[in-house]
Symmetry: C2
Subunit: 221 residues, 2 copies
Amino acid sequence: MRHFTFCSVLQGKELEQLAGIVHRDATAAHSFLFQEGDPAHEVFNILDGTVKLYKSLPDGRTQITGFLFPGDFLGLSTKGDYSYSAEAVTDVRVCRFQKRDMTVMFKDYPKLVDRLLTIASDELAAAQEQMLLLGRKTAQERILSFLRIMSERAQRRGQPASPIHLSMSRADIADYLGLTIETVSRTLTKLKDKGVLKLPRPQEVILAAGYDLAAAAEGDA
Amino acid sequence: MRHFTFCSVLQGKELEQLAGIVHRDATAAHSFLFQEGDPAHEVFNILDGTVKLYKSLPDGRTQITGFLFPGDFLGLSTKGDYSYSAEAVTDVRVCRFQKRDMTVMFKDYPKLVDRLLTIASDELAAAQEQMLLLGRKTAQERILSFLRIMSERAQRRGQPASPIHLSMSRADIADYLGLTIETVSRTLTKLKDKGVLKLPRPQEVILAAGYDLAAAAEGDA
DNA sequence: CGAAGACTTGAAACCGGTCAACTGGAGTGG
DNA sequence: CCACTCCAGTTGACCGGTTTCAAGTCTTCG
């Protein structure tokens, strides 16, 4: 299936109707799309770049709950206030629209409801998978799971499975996997020494051909 | 707000219409409602008892992603196959109906769509909170967070905030918090020795009056 | 070329895990 | 009625993977 964004679909079909409803916007790396506690009346669709979602404790400890890439939605299934923060990891382009306008779209395009539920279902399944990772996997399994996730999402965007380009820092990877930056770095080095992967640059991972990433990420030797 | 189940609401209003659609059922403790990989065509509403949802790794390591109590839904936002297993912790009574029948209900009761999205949104927020717990909290913070969650959910069902009745075993608590049963036990003992709580029986926790559980669960001294 | 920041590497400490023994209450049967 | 068994929960001693603290190295960019 071909990769596409919600916005581009809308453009093709209902451009005039949606003029003044859908807005395009650019956001610089490290700036917020919104923060925990902000009222959630906007929905975003990522056009380009990487966004991180996270929650923090009072003393600063942080857990990244997900990364967003082109085509992904943000804020769709959020009611009331945002319960997490969204920050641009790289420079980002998004399209945004008011949630109340989406209700209007529901009436005209009832299939959107189904699509929305599918997205919510996928998000929840990913969240449960991440709980398994955070609660029960070793550092090495977490790193391999992370590489697998990044590789599969790149493929869904039409990119090759390997090399994997990591647009986020070691600190972000650590905050996503519930580890420290040192453990992330050490574990990658160990995998490199084992011949599982190559690291020509810190942000580029080349997987060894024939390595069963999925099995290794689940602890199957 | 008064506690009620979806089923009881339906009963009052649309009993005849739904005859043959909604079924009541009893399930013994430790038996499955469904397992990971089963096709997801049923939706459940818990009437009585406790249910656990979990995912496992090939070697048996298990992460419980949530507990369900009377009034809670199960399978609502699941598309395709279940990506997790659901098992009765205690004897359980549920009401069940086919998801395809729910689509019919959508047409007659459009507010259900909104309610559905609210449930999905709440589930996702809880999942993110749990990721923060699993990725970044200490054993003591996890136990206190757990007690807080159990207490608040009991209150939503019209029960007092304390004493807290734990219907699940130490093993289930451990699998929910990403710990071992020994650490769960030790941490509870430590909190008892500090005077934070009393443990008249393993499944009954009495919180010290005036103790700020919410703050302690987030690491505020 | 120099500075700043990201990443890596090393050594030591520590929190929670592992392994093992003990306790206590519920249920059973002599 | 009491001894026995069973199993969940508790407690203790030790271990080890990950964190912490502290240097190093590499890259980028002015």
